[in-house]
């Protein structure tokens, strides 16, 4: 279980997160949504241990992050963080990279070699598997980064915009199915930040809305509909929650158009 307690994070003097409290249960798939620059990536980075928040803390399975070397080492083994723009080893082949990541997460040998093969096949990277990553297209680089996240077998996945970066429709479909299955059948906890409501709908068990550095709502999609008294698609529900002025802005834009 992930527990975020009173998390506050500043960049310089600008507060990005203000007293955020959040709990994610094991096997839950949580979508993090919110306007740009409202702290989705910051919250994920704090959960991942990349950031040290100015106030508050993060607990993973009852252990507080950075509280002791033993706790932190145990947490790091449990958590996989895939940022929006990771740095990849350009001169390694995709297969070497995946093996290295599996090695970092101490995945069993038999499982690792087999899993690498299956992931490469799933994301249509078999032909490029033994080529250096620098020769991959940007979409293929994103795919290999996702494969690296999945090859770890980590019980907690923190994914920052995993569906962006030029993934093709087949890869998006594959990733959606894999994440759903991991959460539903293998009790993997997934927290993902994404700006695309269509992806979250039907995939996330709950959606947390970040607005001005605070959690504005955290409910299942149906719960959000009830909260906003809106029966439309999630996209419209989110507009009400995230930026209620957007619809008015659109109206104003057309109304003020000089013919």
């Amino acid at each position: 279980m992930i527990k975020v307690v009173d998390l506050t994070q500043h960049y310089g003097v600008r507060p990005v997160l203000r007293g955020v409290n959040l709990e994610v249960q094991p096997g839950e798939l949580l979508g993090l949504m919110g306007p740009n620059g409202m702290g989705k990536s910051t919250l994920l980075a704090a959960m991942a241990g990349v950031l040290s928040p100015q106030k508050g803390h993060v607990e993973i399975d009852g252990k507080q992050r950075r509280s002791s070397p033993e706790n932190e080492a145990a947490i790091r083994k449990q958590v996989l963080y895939l940022p929006d723009h990771p740095w990849l080893p350009m001169f390694r082949t995709g297969r070497e990279f995946l093996l290295a990541v599996g090695d970092i997460y101490e995945v069993d040998d038999e499982r690792l070699f087999d899993h690498v093969e299956r992931l490469l096949k799933l994301f249509d990277l078999e032909e490029k598997a033994d080529s250096p990553i620098r020769s991959y297209s940007s979409g293929q680089q994103k795919k290999i980064a996702i494969c690296a996240a999945l090859v770890t077998d980590a019980p907690i996945l923190l994914l920052d915009e995993p569906f962006s970066g030029g993934l093709d429709p087949a890869a998006i479909l594959a990733l959606k199915k894999v994440l759903k299955r991991l959460a539903d059948r293998e009790d993997v906890t997934v927290v993902m930040a994404t700006p695309v409501p269509e992806i979250v709908e039907g995939l996330a068990h709950r959606v947390a809305i970040l607005r001005r550095g605070e959690i504005a709502a955290c409910d299942p999609p149906d719960g959000l509909r009830k909260l906003t008294n809106c029966d439309g698609p999630l996209e419209v529900v989110l507009e009400h929650l995230i930026s209620p002025q957007t619809l008015d802005n659109i109206e104003n834009y057309f109304a003020e158009d000089v013919p």
């Binding site: 093996l99 970092i104 680089q141």
Partner: protein
């Protein structure tokens, strides 16, 4: 003759070729300088077998001395580096999987000193002493000391810590015996014997026991391509079935380690590499840190062995400058290790604006450097003012400066795991090998 010299002659190894290149260039340059000297004497009409004692003769002799000493240093290091399996992981892996046993001769060449080395040493010493009029200990020391230091490193790697520390401290003792060549030779002989005995046990440990190899050791191209073939073209299971020696899980794990790491510790990029760090124990024990701090101080103190030939104010300004350099370099290395890619949670501007000038969870990283400056510069300076001799205090300042840097908390793993920092890409990511996608 060639056959007899074969154990110490070059083999097909890039390192060996490089080092032997230096040795042969040394010999060539020596021959050239001597030929030039003789030619000059002939041109000037001076008799060949009478020492000129002039400027030309001195210059030629000095040049020959420098070349000879450089060649001896290169040879000494090469003898330790060329055939040692710890530097050649493919060779080590082969030794581990072959029927080779520690009692047998190492296939590539000897790591321990052999009679051929003694002959070479004797010839070089005679040439240096009799022809070039070098002090007698110079050639043996410059040939054996690099060998012993390299062996000490290997012993440390394989866990033979006693010998690993006795050798470097023993080398420091030689400076006090410098003007007694017999004592120098005797002490070198004792140190060589320790190295000979321990080398056998060290290689045994390395080959037959699971000693973790230093990740910084480069994996040779042969091993890399072989491992790559394993991972890309052969199902791992099939290889296990075909190769009984790899049936043990630890062998398979080791093989996978070779494939995955390919000789480099960091190869998964950011943030996988920094977040993949899970070592909780300090990288250096307190005892080792104390010994490591004392060693450079011991070497500097050894300069006192030459006090009869040193200028009267040797330990004056130059000594203080040296201490300042050591302290600054130590502090810089520690800060670089701790702070590279582990940045403060709030910028300097943020600190000023929020009036949080001190962030205790991050600023703890500066305590050890401050303590080092105080102990390494402040204490010696004060004690020297009170009359403690500089010849003792300046060497003592080095361990005083290094001790806090090596021992004061937080330890590097504790800092990386629990420090109040943000893990940034920064200079922690090699921007040539890694790219942001």
């Amino acid at each position: 003759m060639t056959r007899w010299l074969r154990p110490i002659l070059p083999r097909s190894s890039p390192t060996w070729y490089a080092v032997w290149g230096v040795v042969w260039i040394t010999i060539g340059l020596l021959a050239a300088t001597q030929a030039f000297y003789v030619w000059s004497l002939v041109r000037l009409g001076l008799p060949l077998w009478v020492e000129s004692g002039g400027e030309l003769g001195e210059t030629s002799r000095d040049l020959a001395c420098v070349i000879l000493v450089a060649g001896c240093l290169a040879y000494g290091f090469s003898r330790a580096a060329a055939y040692h399996p710890v530097l050649r992981r493919d060779y080590l892996l082969w030794l581990r999987l072959s029927p080779w046993s520690p009692g047998k001769v190492l296939p590539l060449g000897p790591v321990r000193l052999v009679w051929q080395d003694a002959v070479l040493l004797a010839v070089a010493t005679l040439y240096g002493g009799a022809v070039l009029r070098l002090p007698w200990p110079v050639v043996p020391v410059s040939m054996i000391v690099p060998y012993l230091l390299a062996m000490a490193l290997y012993f440390h790697t394989t866990g033979h810590r006693l010998a690993a520390w006795v050798l470097p401290f023993g080398i420091g003792l030689i400076s006090f015996l410098w003007f007694r060549p017999g004592a120098v030779v005797a002490s070198l002989a004792v140190l060589c014997m320790i190295a000979q005995i321990t080398a056998h046990r060290s290689i045994q440990t390395l080959v037959r026991e699971e000693t973790a190899l230093p990740r910084s050791v480069a994996l040779s191209a042969a091993a890399l391509s072989a491992m790559k073939r394993t991972s890309t073209h052969a199902p791992f299971g099939a290889m296990r079935d075909e190769t009984p020696l790899l049936a043990e899980p630890r062998d398979r794990s080791r093989l996978r380690g070779h494939v995955a790491h390919a000789g480099a510790p960091h190869n998964a990029g950011w943030p996988l590499d920094p977040l993949g760090f899970r070592e909780t124990k300090p990288l250096i024990s307190y005892r080792e840190a104390i010994l490591f701090s004392l060693l450079p101080g011991w070497y500097v103190y050894g300069i006192n062995g030459f006090k009869d030939v040193l200028p009267a104010d040797f330990w004056g300004p130059a000594g203080l400058g040296f201490t300042c350099f050591v302290v600054c370099a130590g502090v810089a290395v520690r800060l670089l290790l701790y702070c590279q890619a582990h940045f403060p949670p709030i910028s300097l501007w943020g600190r000023v604006c929020t009036l949080r000038l001190i962030v205790p969870r991050y600023d703890v990283v500066f305590l050890a450097p401050i303590l080092s400056v105080f102990c390494g510069l402040g204490i010696p300076w004060t004690l020297m003012k009170w009359g403690v001799p500089a010849a003792f205090m300046i060497p003592a300042s080095i361990p005083l400066a290094l001790l806090p840097l090596l021992n004061a908390g937080p330890s590097l793993p504790r800092w990386w795991l629990t420090g109040g920092h943000r893990i940034a890409t920064g200079i922690g990511v090699n921007r040539v090998l890694f790219k942001k996608i």
